[in-house]
């Protein structure tokens, strides 16, 4: 008898759990100026890099929208994998009342797209990927920024430093070698380091570059090891397309210079890190959420650059940068804004000794090889014009791929 009453008590407790509370689910949706937005992140802000940059964008956008009377109720989920847990996270965010769901990592998109048809009234956004914009659905969107512009300027800063070292006799012209820590041999990375290299080359003609792929977007140890190995191979400038700050500290420990990505790294490596570039996601979050609240369409494929503040440079480390760098940055920024400088100007680089005259931008038949939309015209390769996600995958002269396995 005691046992049965015990079981009954447990059952009662459990059922009270089920029916108790439940308040969290119904908070949004009633007030038209309050919008509940899900932000699904691959890491958390402790990476001080990729996800941290999104969180920063989230908080800035919240303030910008609050100034206009729009309240954003964020549901942020961290450390989601590029796997079926992402499908679950999207379902979860949708069921918890999010009206907009932002997926912050490239690899989330295919899993996000599994869910979108079940929630036609919810807007799904995949940052940095490219299928949502062209899938014919109204409720799926892509977004990216012209980060290659920021990388070009970071390259200019690096090139000026290298040229200064050459001019002061610290290194010979042929020793101006950049070491680049890349995640994967992936279009976004290739586009980024090529832009960086061309920026450096525009002010330091003798520069060459070595790229080491680490096979992970975020692996602090591997990134550090790659940076150290590059420095040991004679690279005097390190840059990176990976999520951690370890390449900066590695550069500092080897007495070479560094430019970063996603976050200002000068506090971590004050004697090495010159400048960083990052995407300011607040610009996009602000525009997308405002459009949603006003009943307008969120753009299918959003892409803006430096001119709109979507790509920004962090504070220049004046103590170690070459003299005149700040002025040069301003000059290049203006040139990029008015179009007088093209990052992928085909007269500034060669492919196997020849000028680049042809490259496709988009893949339309799903075989993962670009087959349509000529990107080379008017003397330049036009990046992020036909879709927001980068599509520059050409291997240009002067950049040596140390390992293309990834």
């Amino acid at each position: 008898m005691k046992k049965i009453s015990f079981v009954l008590i447990v059952l009662m407790l459990v059922s009270s759990f089920i029916f108790a509370g439940g308040s969290a689910e119904t908070a949004a949706a009633s007030d038209p100026n309050t919008v509940r937005v899900g932000l699904l992140c691959i890491g958390d802000e402790n990476d001080q890099g990729y996800t941290y940059n999104f969180i920063r964008g989230r908080d800035e956008a919240t303030e910008m929208l609050a100034a206009e009377g729009i309240t954003v109720d964020w549901v942020t989920k961290y450390n989601i994998g590029e796997d079926a847990t992402c499908t679950d996270a999207n379902i979860e965010a949708a069921e918890e009342g999010c009206q907009i769901i932002i997926n912050n990592s490239y690899g989330f998109e295919p899993f996000m797209l599994e869910v979108v048809d079940d929630y036609p009234e919810i807007e799904f956004i995949s940052c940095t990927n490219c299928a949502s914009a062209f899938d014919g659905r109204d409720n799926t969107h892509n977004a990216f920024a012209n980060i290659y512009e920021g990388r070009y300027i970071a390259g200019v800063v690096a090139g000026m430093k290298l040229q200064q070292m050459i001019d002061e006799g610290q290194i010979k012209p042929e020793e101006a070698i950049i070491g680049y820590v890349g995640a994967y041999s992936f279009a976004e990375v290739i586009s980024g380091f090529t832009a960086y290299y061309l920026g450096a080359k525009s002010v330091c003609p003798s520069v060459t570059m070595k790229v080491s792929f680490v096979g992970s977007w975020s692996d602090a140890t591997a990134e550090s090891d790659a940076a150290l190995a590059l420095a040991d191979q004679g690279c005097v400038m390190i840059s990176q397309h990976s999520d951690n700050t370890t390449p900066a500290t590695a550069a500092q420990s080897r007495g070479v210079f560094h430019t970063g990505y996603n976050n200002d790294m000068t506090s971590i490596a004050p004697n090495a890190s010159l400048i960083s570039t990052r995407i300011d996601w607040a610009i996009y979050f602000y525009e997308a959420i405002k459009a949603y609240v006003n009943g307008e369409e969120i753009p299918q494929d959003w892409c803006k650059g430096m001119g709109d503040g979507a790509v920004v440079m962090t504070t220049l480390n004046e103590a170690i940068a070459a003299p005149g760098t700040a002025e040069k940055i301003a000059e290049v920024e203006a040139g990029l804004a008015d179009g007088s400088i093209q990052v992928f100007d085909t007269s500034t680089f060669t492919v196997a000794g020849e000028e680049l005259t042809h490259a496709f931008a988009l893949d339309t038949d799903g075989d993962f090889t670009a087959d349509s939309e000529e990107a080379v015209y008017d003397g330049a390769f036009h990046e992020s014009v036909f879709q927001s996600a980068p599509y520059f995958t050409v291997q240009i002269d002067g950049i040596e791929w140390l390992n293309a396995a990834y």
Binding site: K3, A20, A84, Y184, S185, A187, I190
Partner: protein
């Protein structure tokens, strides 16, 4: 007996206990676990009562959540069934993770390259057969070495996991990669996906069939009896004329085949693609399921559901209350630990020095 030489606490094997008492201990352990689970919540400033209610709500309160919970439970149940015969035999197969992964790899091969060539039903059958074959062969390797040279099956099966996961990592970045550099294998076409029954992939039917199969196999067949005998005493089995090595290989073959089928269910019913985390720890969590259910296949249904509720609920906990995912993992760990240790108190009793005559611990 001299008083000074008796340790403060002694352990003694219990005699048979009544079913009521056993269940009482189990329920107590869950309650203790729930109380202990409050600690990390309180430390992180979360109201434990609200948190538990969110866990239940987030896993059961809506059809969508319930479906997700069941989808999570299917591989746990299937894999617990797979490893139960091995554990009954005291063959510590902790390689289910790798066997699932290899099953998933073989199924994925057909899903990627034959989806447009073979009709739906035959394709799925081929995927299941190839998955079962892959899992079986992967499991057979350590069993063969154990039977032939008496290698340590725990280490062997564990190491096989990493090889399987490594193979997937290579496929992901190499031959099966979709967009270059993306590390993603393309999603399966609809043709290679399991049909839905009552809103959840039909894997649940397969899992329930396996439950019945395991019950019959373990309790009503000669092979099941042989497994039980080996589990109790290898020497008895040898004396009775059983070919122990062969029985081990045969059991691992069956175990691996079921794990491989679980792999097929995961890729074609839940994930719709292959990646290196495809088994997602199921091969290890299912050990807990099998152990908690005392290798009873019907109890496994309930235990796998409880674990799925915890997993899904912890997810909602993170969403609604911004509890870090690691806290949810800690709570799950505490619950599992308490539930497993209750089995200890069912089998053993603690005897305190001055209370020798009485039963000290319920």
């Amino acid at each position: 007996m001299s008083e000074t030489k008796t340790p403060l606490i002694r352990l003694a094997k219990r005699a048979e206990m009544s079913k009521g008492r056993i269940y009482l201990i189990r329920i107590c352990s869950i309650i203790i676990a729930l109380i202990l689970g409050c600690l990390p919540m309180v430390l992180t400033g979360t109201n434990p009562f609200a948190a538990y209610s969110v866990i239940i709500q987030g896993s059961l309160s809506r059809p969508v959540y319930l479906k997700q919970t069941i989808r999570t439970a299917i591989p746990l149940l299937g894999c617990a069934i797979a490893i139960a015969p091995c554990f009954k035999m005291r063959f510590w197969n902790i390689g289910a993770e790798g066997q699932i992964t290899m099953g998933a790899v073989f199924s994925t091969y057909f899903a990627l390259f034959y989806a447009d060539k073979i009709p739906h039903a035959p394709l799925l059958i081929i995927m299941f057969l190839s998955g079962a074959l892959a899992g079986a062969l992967w499991a057979l390797i350590p069993a063969f070495f154990k039977a032939k040279w008496n290698t340590n099956e725990t280490l062997f099966t564990l190491m096989m996991n990493y090889i399987a996961i490594g193979i997937v990592a290579w496929l992901q970045g190499g031959p099966w990669e979709g967009r270059k550099g993306s590390q993603l294998i393309p999603m399966f076409s609809d043709n290679a996906r399991l049909p839905m029954v009552l809103g959840v992939n039909c894997g649940w039917i397969i899992a329930l069939v396996l439950v019945v199969f395991l019950y019959i196999y373990m309790n009503k067949t000669k092979q099941g009896y042989e497994i039980a005998v080996i589990g109790d005493s290898v020497n008895t089995a040898r004396y009775a004329g059983m070919n122990v090595g062969w029985i081990m290989m045969r059991t691992m073959l069956i175990s691996g085949a079921i794990s491989g089928i679980v792999g097929t269910i995961i890729v074609s019913g839940a994930n719709f693609t292959l990646y290196k985390g495809v088994a997602n720890g199921v091969g290890f969590t299912s050990i807990t399921v099998a152990w908690l259910s005392q290798l009873n296949s019907f109890a496994m249904i309930a235990i796998s559901m409880i674990l799925a509720v915890l997993e899904k609920g912890a997810n909602t906990l993170q969403t609604r209350m911004q509890v870090p995912a690691s806290i949810a993992d800690i709570i799950t760990g505490i619950l599992l630990f308490c539930m497993l240790s209750s089995e200890f108190f069912i089998n053993y009793k603690l005897i305190f020095r001055h209370k020798d005559k009485k039963e000290a611990m319920a």
